[in-house]
């Protein structure tokens, strides 16, 4: 990205997030702002999760998506994955983080399916290509 100006809707929202090695982490489902001393918002974090996406889409479908996402969380208060903006290394055709995806929380749905469905099928741990 050559220009210094960042467009929140265009450059951030709905872009693919990848980790240091290019592994998909998720989509930017929403952006969280902080407030500077003079009352201006600044980009504080990017949020990832069906529940953030559902709330952004809105309407019946969005509410349904958010409700499903909440259901899938078995523990505590469901929160989308929050990635502080300082962790963003590069904004291009994808948003590249400066950490590996193992350090981020694995989404509940992935975890549940891994433990209860896919992980139980023989060969699930065989190396990919």
């Amino acid at each position: 990205m050559t220009n210094e100006v960042l467009r929140v809707d265009f450059d951030l929202l709905d872009r693919q997030i990848v980790d240091l090695d290019g592994h998909p982490v998720g989509k930017v489902d929403d952006v969280e702002f902080g407030t500077t001393a003079d009352g201006r918002p600044f980009v504080a974090a990017i949020l990832v999760g069906h529940h953030a996406l559902g709330e952004r889409i809105g309407g019946r479908l969005g509410r349904w998506m958010a409700a499903v996402a909440r259901r899938l969380h078995t523990t505590g208060d469901p929160q989308p994955l929050r990635i502080p903006f300082e962790r963003v290394a590069e904004i291009g055709s994808a948003i590249r983080l400066d950490v590996r995806h193992e350090l981020l929380n694995t989404p509940a749905l992935e975890l549940w399916l891994r433990d209860n469905v896919i992980g139980r099928i023989p060969g699930a741990s065989d190396a990919g290509q």
């Binding site: 100006v5 960042l6 467009r7 929403d30 952006v31 702002f33 918002p41």
Partner: protein
């Protein structure tokens, strides 16, 4: 505060004149490197993604760019401080 709370909201200028709806938020880094919102892209019509033709220097394919700018006629950038967010 979330981006989804701001985008798509109808806003007015400081004199109370309606500006349209918020289509995008433009940020620039401050001295701490924080991306602060400096300008707001407002559009008189209903918000849909602008397809990226609103960025300077993006003009091809010509026909799509014409259609997009026709559909989003009147879209412009307004400095953050000139916007009254309280208006509904």
């Amino acid at each position: 505060m979330l981006a989804s709370d701001l985008l798509g909201r109808p806003v007015r200028d400081r004199d109370g004149k309606p500006l349209g709806r918020v289509a995008d938020l433009l940020t620039e880094p401050d001295e701490h490197g924080r991306q602060r919102v400096v300008r707001v892209l407002v559009t008189p019509r209903r918000r849909g993604r602008l397809l990226g033709f609103e960025r300077p220097g993006i003009q091809r394919p010509w026909l799509l760019e014409r259609i997009s700018s026709l559909l989003h006629r009147g879209t412009r950038e307004v400095p953050w401080e000139d916007i009254d967010w309280s208006a509904e």
